[in-house]
Structure formats: structure tokens, C-alpha cells
């Protein structure tokens, strides 16, 4: 089978000592990033984007993917031991995991989270291996109108489904799109919004916006509004699961995997939906429901963790086959690809097949590495939690500096970084979501190119979107997502 051969070749590339080292470092950095509060995988990858100028594409994509996964393994450690979850995907783990930890069963919770993540990650990677090439073959038939509608769907879901207010989400999205407008237009070469400043011809760096909004904004918010906050820490018990724990966990792992995987592939955005869904499922199917919310039920940790990991792995499918990111970190990964001049999409499997299969092979390897890093070595990561907050946030600023300065060697970018950090504080204080800004900025120029190509295919007629069945369906979906929730709310009020 051709698939098998390509995967084996991918393993051959991924198993070279250099790539193994990058994989390991990525997983370690990712776990640390997931454990530490105040920093997430999207920011970490963004801060390290300068390496794309020097390191070859395969190695750095393996590295970044390691960070992406590791952060998820590490996030569950924090959410079980601390009351504040690290990532949104770990929020549900925190609910039951905390209860278990309070009852002296932190070790079992950590074990089920790590092993569940490994099981889910491996199964999900197998599914990616099987489905990605199939989808790539199908996606070749998609034309610019379909791509534009898919991107429109991504914009809609990221601003209207997440968060509490569609209006504020839209504001964030438009700000992101506006930032993406600055620079040279891809199709006509026209300079837009550069004000005669030659440095702006290349546009605003993604690193600048991502690091400014998330890292610097987070630090500024912490100094302004989070002084003196004390977090309770639960004690770490032996990381070990009893036979009963195993028996209860493995069905939850499998259910979680198959709930989480579909949600990662669609632009529904975020891992909150699959993890909450998995939690609800486990609660409904549990034999002993009394443990939920009181002593802490192990299924309530096993299922959501597996769902989270499966969803994150699945985001690689739309990223690699369609070039559409369905998570924040995936959007930054898209930016990393663009730095190499590689455009993910159906052609990726033909033009950069070696890179893609090495990446997929490294996912298998990374999962094994992360299991080892997180099970026996969990005590090491827990020590990271002892770092006092002032040193942590100040240290993040140093990494932010190297990330931003390393990209363009401009001290003025550091001033811009501060200004964007201020915007981040305002957005957080007034409940404006920040994810749409990044997605809008990265996806905006691509969507515009697809729109204009679509219209030139349709000879200037806007009807081209409605004449092709797939794009018409997608457009209907977009309208439905925008209109239906409001309609239902109004009908319910009557």
C-alpha cells in the first residue's frame, strides 16, 4: 500500500537523531508551557517562530507540533493539582480532577489523564494517517468559491460560537482582518495602509500580535488586577492506578476519543465543546453517579482528557489538507508554514509529502515521549509550579522580547508590543475574545485571495457562490450559525 510506504518513509525521517531531539525538546517545552500558568501553546509557538529563519522546515514543524501536544498533557497536570486550569481544554478535567486530588487521589487522576491522552493521541494519529490523504484527494476538487465559504465558516464559528457576545466577537474579528490588510496586496501588488513606511510593506508580524495580546497582555493584566491572589495546591500522591481504576478508565478513553475527534476536524473552534460533551456522556453512563462532583469520578477525568487530545490531534486534518486552522495554535502553525513559503492544502501531500509524513510519524513518536515525560517524571513538572508568579511573568517578557526582536530586529516592534499588550488588557477587561483577532489576521489575506479568484472564475458575478452546490451549502451553514441561536432564543421567550 502506498500509504504504508509513505508512513514508513516518514518514520525514517522522523527517527533521525536530529529530528528525534527536536521532537523531545518540543514535547518538554510543551509540557512546561502547559503546566505553567500565564502562557499557552499558541504564544509559545509564536515566540519561537524566529527559528523558522534558520532551522529547516521538517525539524521546526516537528518541534512546534511537540509543543502543541505537550501543552495539552501538561495542562491537565495543572488543572488537577491547582484550582486554576491551564488551558480551556483542561477546564473540565479540573472539575473532577480537583475533587479527586482533594481526596488524596491526585496520582490516579494524573495517571488516567496521561494514559488517556496517550491512547487518544495514538488512535487519533492513526485516524489522521488514514483520513488525511483521502481528504486531500477530495479537496483537490474544491475550488476558490468553496474555499472562501469554508474560511467564512471558520470566521463565523470563531467569532459567533465561542464567547458570549457575537457582536464583541465580530469586533475582534474585524480588528484582526484590518491588521491583516496592512501591507502589500497579494493579487495586485498594491500597497495598503502602509503610510509610506517601507517596513510595513510586509505587513504586521503575527508574532507581534499573538505575543502582544496573549503574553504581554497577560502580564499587564496580572500586575493590574491579579495581585495577591493565592492559589490552593493539592498534594501529589503516587502516580498509580488500581485495577478498578483501569477498568473504569479505558471505556471512557475510547468514548472520549471518538467524541473529540470529529470536533477537531470541523471549524467549531475550541476544545470546550467536546470536553463538556464527553463529561456529560460519562456522567450519564456512569454506574456510580454519586462520585461526580463529590469524591471525584475517574471517568470524569479520563473521558474529557481523551476528548481534548483527540480534538487537538484532529485539528491537523483541516490544517494540512485544507489549510484552514480550527484552533488558535493551528493558526500560528499555519503562520509557521507560511514563513517557509509552504501553503498547506491538498497540494501539500504531493509537493511536500516528505515533510507531511515525517510530521505524522513524529506524532506517534511524540505521544510516546509525552507519556514517559508525564507519568514517571510528573514530579519534575510539579516543581515548576513553585516558581513565584512575579518571576514567571517577568521571565515571559524576556521570551516575548526574543520572539519579537528575533523576527525583524526592530526595537520599534518592542514599543508596538507594549501597545498591543495594552489592547490585550482592554479586551480582557471588557470581555472581547482575542482568538478571532489572530484567526482574522492570518486567514484574512488568504480568504481575500480566494474571494477574488472565485469572482474571476465566475466572471465577476456574485452568483457563482450560489450556483455551486457545495459553496451554497456552506453559505447556508454560515447563515444558520449566525441566525439560529437568536431565533431559538426569541421563540423560547414566547
Amino acid at each position: 500500500m502506498d500509504l504504508w510506504n509513505q508512513l514508513l518513509m516518514g518514520f525514517a525521517t522522523a527517527a533521525t537523531p536530529v529530528n528525534l531531539l527536536w521532537c523531545f525538546v518540543g514535547c518538554a517545552v510543551g509540557t512546561a508551557v502547559g503546566v505553567l500558568p500565564g502562557i499557552g501553546p499558541a504564544v509559545a509557538v509564536a515566540m519561537l517562530l524566529p527559528i523558522t529563519t534558520k532551522v529547516d522546515a521538517t525539524a521546526s514543524m516537528i518541534f512546534f507540533s511537540g509543543i502543541y501536544y505537550g501543552a495539552m498533557y501538561g495542562g491537565s497536570t495543572t488543572s488537577i493539582l491547582l484550582n486554576t486550569p491551564g488551558e480551556t481544554g483542561s477546564m473540565v478535567t479540573a472539575m473532577e480532577g480537583n475533587k479527586m486530588a482533594k481526596n488524596g487521589r491526585a496520582g490516579a487522576a494524573l495517571a488516567t489523564a496521561a494514559i488517556g491522552s496517550f491512547v487518544a493521541g495514538t488512535i487519533a494519529t492513526v485516524l489522521v494517517t488514514l483520513f488525511a490523504p483521502l481528504l486531500a484527494n477530495f479537496a483537490v476538487r474544491l475550488g476558490p468559491p468553496e474555499y472562501f465559504c469554508l474560511m467564512l465558516l471558520a470566521f463565523t464559528t470563531v467569532s459567533a460560537v465561542l464567547g458570549r457576545s457575537t457582536l464583541r466577537g465580530m469586533v475582534a474579528l474585524f480588528i484582526g482582518l484590518a491588521t491583516g490588510l496592512i501591507g502589500m496586496d497579494q493579487i495586485s501588488g498594491q500597497a495598503r495602509y502602509t503610510g509610506g513606511v517601507p517596513e510595513l510593506l510586509d505587513g504586521i508580524e503575527i508574532v507581534l500580535v499573538a505575543v502582544g495580546l496573549f503574553a504581554v497582555g497577560e502580564s499587564l493584566y496580572a500586575v493590574l488586577y491579579e495581585g495577591g491572589r493565592r492559589e490552593t495546591r493539592n498534594k501529589l500522591s503516587a502516580v498509580h492506578m488500581t485495577k478498578a481504576d483501569w477498568r473504569r478508565s479505558w471505556p471512557a478513553w475510547l468514548r472520549g476519543t471518538f467524541i473529540g475527534f470529529p470536533f477537531g476536524t470541523i471549524p467549531a473552534g475550541g476544545s470546550e465543546i467536546p470536553t463538556f460533551l464527553s463529561y456529560a456522556t460519562e456522567k450519564k453512563l456512569a454506574r456510580d453517579k454519586s462520585e461526580f462532583g463529590t469524591r471525584g469520578a475517574i471517568e470524569g477525568v479520563a473521558g474529557p482528557e481523551a476528548a481534548n487530545n483527540a480534538a487537538i490531534t484532529a485539528t491537523l486534518i483541516p490544517l494540512l489538507t485544507l489549510g484552514i486552522p480550527t484552533s488558535n495554535t493551528a493558526a500560528i502553525l499555519l503562520g509557521a508554514f507560511q514563513n517557509y513559503g509552504i501553503q498547506p492544502g491538498p497540494q501539500l501531500f504531493t509537493t511536500s509529502a516528505a515533510l507531511v509524513w515525517a510530521l505524522i510519524a513524529s506524532l506517534y513518536i511524540g505521544n510516546v515521549m509525552l507519556l514517559i515525560l508525564n507519568l514517571p517524571m510528573v514530579g519534575l513538572w510539579v516543581k515548576l509550579l513553585k516558581i513565584p508568579k512575579p518571576h514567571l511573568y517577568a521571565g515571559i517578557l524576556i521570551f516575548a522580547t526574543v520572539g519579537v526582536y528575533g523576527m525583524r530586529q526592530s526595537a520599534f516592534d518592542l514599543v508596538l508590543l507594549y501597545a498591543i499588550g495594552l489592547v490585550g488588557v482592554v479586551m480582557r477587561r471588557f470581555d472581547f475574545p482575542t482568538a478571532p483577532v489572530v484567526v482574522g489576521m492570518i486567514l484574512g489575506p488568504l480568504a481575500e485571495a480566494q474571494l477574488r479568484n472565485a469572482l474571476s472564475i465566475g466572471e465577476g458575478r456574485w452568483g457563482v457562490f450560489l450556483e455551486r452546490p457545495m459553496s451554497a451549502t456552506l453559505l447556508a451553514l454560515v447563515v444558520a450559525i449566525l441566525v439560529l441561536p437568536r431565533l431559538i432564543k426569541r421563540l423560547r421567550r414566547r
Partner: protein
Amino acid sequence: MSAPDRSAAQTLIGACVLTIGAVIAAGATMIPAEAGYGGVGPNFLPWVVGGGLVLCGALVIWEARSGGYRNMEEPGGAARGYWRGFAWMTAALLANAALITSIGFILSCTLCFVLAVRGLRNADHQDSPRPFLQPAQLLRDALIGAAIAAPVYWMFTKLLAINLPGLTSSGWI
């Protein structure tokens, strides 16, 4: 924040969004509209974004004036901002920007670290801020900052050959 303060702040944000939208729309008029092969020109998206921001800005102002933002969750953290700590952080970041090319990455980031830690530590002890010139603590913060900045600098310049500014051209500091 008290209710009228909050309403004012929310309105101000809406006004800013509207202004940005107007600026973008104004800029869009200066972009030529040549549409090439029958698609839309380079000024199409600017008009859409500008118009969208103006519309959203107006809606935000309307929401702010008619009872505040809808479905807004209380933001986490304290009710009032600790502006002295904020001043320290601002000093940290802007000093870094100003000095990084003259005294080099390691020294500039160490300074940034020390100032930022100062602000964050004071935020944790808002009722009893300590004096700045506590030599022992100052030295310890500077050493920790250097211990973070120096390896990062060496890794990026020596291993990855990425250009970061140095005090000397030796590549080590």
C-alpha cells in the same frame, strides 16, 4: 468600576472601534479599484472591514448606552487596577525597547526583568510596598534575570545564528 464609569468606558471603546472603522474606510478611498480579471479590486475588503467596524462600533455604543454590554461576565481579578505596578511594567517594557540596541540583549532584558518583578511583587503586597533599593533582593532579581536572559541569548545567537543585539560584538554579552 462603578456603573456610570463602566458605561463611559464601554462607550469609549465603541467610539474607538468606530473611529478605526472610519479611518480604514477613509484609507479605502485612496486605494485604486482596478479589478483586474473581473474579480473585485484591492479596495473591496478595506471597504467591507471599514464598514463592518463602523457598524459594529455603532452597535457597541448603542449596547453601552442601553444597559451595558450584553452577556458580559465579570472579569476576573480585582475591581480596581493597581496602577503603580502598571507603571513599573511600563517602565520595564519601554526601557527594554529603548536600550536593547545600545546595551545589548542580556543587560536590557535583565533590567526589564528587575523592573517587572518589582511591579508584580508590589502588586502582591499592595498595602505595604517595599522600598526599591533593597540591595539583596535587587541583586537576586538581577541574577535571576541574567540567568534567564543569558542562556536564551547564547542559544539563539550561537546555536541558531539569529541576530540579537549585544553590548559587545563578541557574541557572548
